[in-house]
Subunit: 464 residues, 2 copies
């Protein structure tokens, strides 16, 4: 149990640290533009703060990753901190109230591109490491860093990098400084994210578009055929009507329903926020139950014909499913494919092409990382219930770390999902910085004692 | 009964007349490009051949129309010859076997842009008029000409022109030199064309596209809603499932079924020609019955979302119906609108916007124009049955002439629908020229005797 101490770090006044963060925000490390000098400057800025851990830039086929490893706690568990130094493009300049690459302090918020995604949240981790080294000369546990520069463009080289550095990156837990708390009104910890199954449907009729007069009534219309196929995917109660779709989905327990029912959530405010005429979805379930606990099948796009009086010769649709629990992306794709092919109308050819699959991700409520995160959040948000939230989106990195390194990922970001991520006027609540530093401190101290001998001993490493 | 003679015109060898037609084809009167010099040159070329009838160019807001009026048969009926001097763009130059604007004689066919649509068929009328004037010094009946220059771009100024020249254009029958015989294997006369009802459907959900993970399961998907609406438009037997859609549609008589069954039509050859996996349509009807006698509802296009994992905020569809018999375009549009609005799923707003309507057109089998056309075709195609075909497309001009001038339109073109209209290598069968001249001669001679006292006396002029 080396590295555990009960003494708290002394935190500096956050306002004295803003200049340092401002320097980081000022580097326009927009991965979509990929200006090599800017990308490398941002990576170097991070590496410069991790020299105590032997930091270096490691090349990939794209932007370099920042790597570091502090291994001064023999016998203690090892965590891997994940984050990214790249940011989204600034977008329309005239919508920003202050220049995007000049960090502005505006009352209780900091404003600038990347300040909440992910420069501010990563800065919090760099600060906690710096303070530990300054005040205690060591960290409570062994810490590796993997900070990439392509998260905002879909991490095209992360998979290859991780899989070819499995031994270097070996750890007992990944902690992501990326992510966001669900909303500002209470602390939350993410216990699951949804998986993804993606497919393309193509319906083909005649060899070319046909004049709807000269040929109407003699051939099938591919759009009508596609519409009947798409309409067959859900029943009248909003459930997915594909045999086998729900295989692996656990029934909602009374306990989970009670937990979700206890969350203060205003359907009408949410509806107004989205601008929808009404909320909709599976009958018999609340909005949050549908969002967090249930898989979905969405039609994302249809391309077919145009404004002219033709019978188009093809109609294509793009579908994605968000998966939960033990649903298998490949099995879901297969079930949908069979459903569609079986219903192909006369006069058209139906082709279904699976495109992409990621399993759902979940960590048990009593996993040491969740217990430690709750303790850390309880310390900085005393008296508040910590929500067990679900990231209803898909986080391929969690699957990558589980598949390649055999470990769970804890999302521990002090960003909040309402802080204009990817939009103009991105901001970070100033108070999240000291809260985050204290929380990471408590998290590390606790994990140093609880993580060792649990994950380290039992996790089977799947090196594929 | 003035103007009727039993003597036949002496026809020149068609090959001696090709140079004249070649001059006309050489003028690149592409209305889509609208080079004013080329358009005017083509119009003038036509007008130059109608000087005996006092021809002149009359201005419109677009390309000029060619007008002429030979009124030297007092007491005889008056016909209005309709045609167009504009052509489609040549399209891909490398697909033409000979230059599009140089008339080529290739064995039994003439090749060049516009040679069958509509320069060759109009040339036939100019020839018959020329030969009558040369050999008999007069025409058998009074003839007006209205040759427009914007047919290939949808005749945007024809409606206004006709309605503001109702007295000038008064006649007992319109004969169109535009159109096409159904196929080369037998002569045919068109007794009907289908009407059109057109509408746009818009389904709207949330105010913006939403992330299908972060919001999936909480709001309706506009594409799924649109698919269910579109799928509800037909029943399992391929019939339109909209209440009131078939109002005004006459039952198929045994006689008409027998007529159609007697037509030599090869379903399999037709299927192969279209490249469709199978033919399809209303159960219990033959392909030609569906094509000629039944109204249709086609989905022409859908615009919604794309390839990304979003829940799109809108989905739009464009629909057109082809109408028959007494179906009222406005009533059909209303019935479909009500059908869709009644079925709007929860969570979306459905808007239906009618766009365009043209009633179906028909002329009775025993109308003097049909009887005369059959006699004319029997003369040049002896021993062959003249098919009563339906133009399954929509011809707004027929409705215009009926509505504004109160007269029927006879389609009497010697183009054939397989002659690459609107495509590269447009051609006209050479033998159609002398056949056409003879047929027009017989048609005019017969109408001079049968049309007078029928249409002239009974038609009610609806001037709107």
């Amino acid at each position: 149990m080396s590295g555990v101490t009960t003494g708290d770090l002394v935190l500096p006044d956050v306002r004295t640290r803003i200049a340092d963060l401002a320097e980081y925000v000022a580097i326009p490390s927009v991965s979509l533009d990929s200006d090599p000098a800017a990308m490398r400057a941002a990576a170097q800025w991070v590496a410069d703060r991790l020299t105590f851990a032997g930091s270096y830039l490691d090349e990939t086929a794209g932007n370099p990753v920042v790597r570091a490893h502090w291994d001064g706690a023999p016998g203690a568990p090892t965590i891997l901190v994940y984050g990214h130094y790249d940011v989204q493009p600034a977008g329309p300049a005239d919508e920003w109230r202050t220049p995007p690459f000049e960090l502005a302090v505006d009352g209780d918020v900091l404003r600038g591109r990347g300040v909440t995604d992910d420069k501010g949240p990563l800065f919090i981790v760099l600060e906690v490491a710096r303070l530990f080294m300054e005040q205690e000369g060591r960290l409570p546990l062994n810490v590796k860093f993997l900070i990439e520069g392509e998260e905002e463009i879909g991490s095209p080289h992360l998979d290859e990098y991780v899989r070819s550095h499995v031994d270097d990156l070996a750890c007992d837990l990944v902690i992501s400084a990326d992510g966001a708390m669900w909303r500002p009104t209470e602390p939350s910890v993410s216990v699951a994210s949804k998986g993804l199954a993606e497919l393309n449907v193509l319906v083909e009729g005649a060899a070319t578009d046909l004049h709807s007069g000269r040929f109407g009534g003699t051939v099938a219309n591919p759009i009508a055929a596609l519409a009947s196929l798409l309409a067959s995917l859900h029943d009248r109660d909003g459930r997915v009507a594909v045999d086998g779709f729900y295989r692996g989905v656990r029934a909602l327990t009374d306990q989970r329903r009670a937990e979700i029912a206890a969350v203060d959530f205003d359907d009408e405010a949410y509806r107004v926020q989205l601008g929808a005429p009404a909320l909709a979805g599976e009958a018999g379930l609340s909005t949050l139950e549908r969002l967090w606990e249930r898989p979905t099948l969405e039609i994302n796009g249809v391309q077919a014909g145009g404004q002219y009086t033709v019978i188009p010769h093809r109609a294509a649709a793009h579908l994605t499913c968000r998966l939960v629990h033990q649903q298998d992306p490949a099995a879901v794709t297969k079930a949908i494919t069979e459903h569609l092919l079986k219903r192909a109308p006369v006069g058209v050819t139906v082709t279904v092409e699976p495109a992409h699959g990621v399993p759902a991700y979940a960590v048990d409520d009593d996993h040491p990382s969740i217990v430690a995160a709750e303790a850390a959040l309880a310390r900085v948000y005393p008296g508040q219930t910590v929500l067990h939230a679900v990231i209803a989106g898909t986080l391929p990195a969690t699957w990558l770390f589980e598949d390649a390194l055999g470990v769970k990922t804890l999302f521990f970001s002090f960003s909040t999902s309402d802080e204009n991520l990817h939009a103009p006027n991105e901001f970070l609540r100033l108070h999240r910085i000291p809260e985050g530093i204290r929380a990471w401190e408590v998290l590390w101290r606790q994990l140093a004692g609880t993580l060792a001998g649990t994950l380290a001993g039992t996790v089977e490493r799947r090196q594929s």
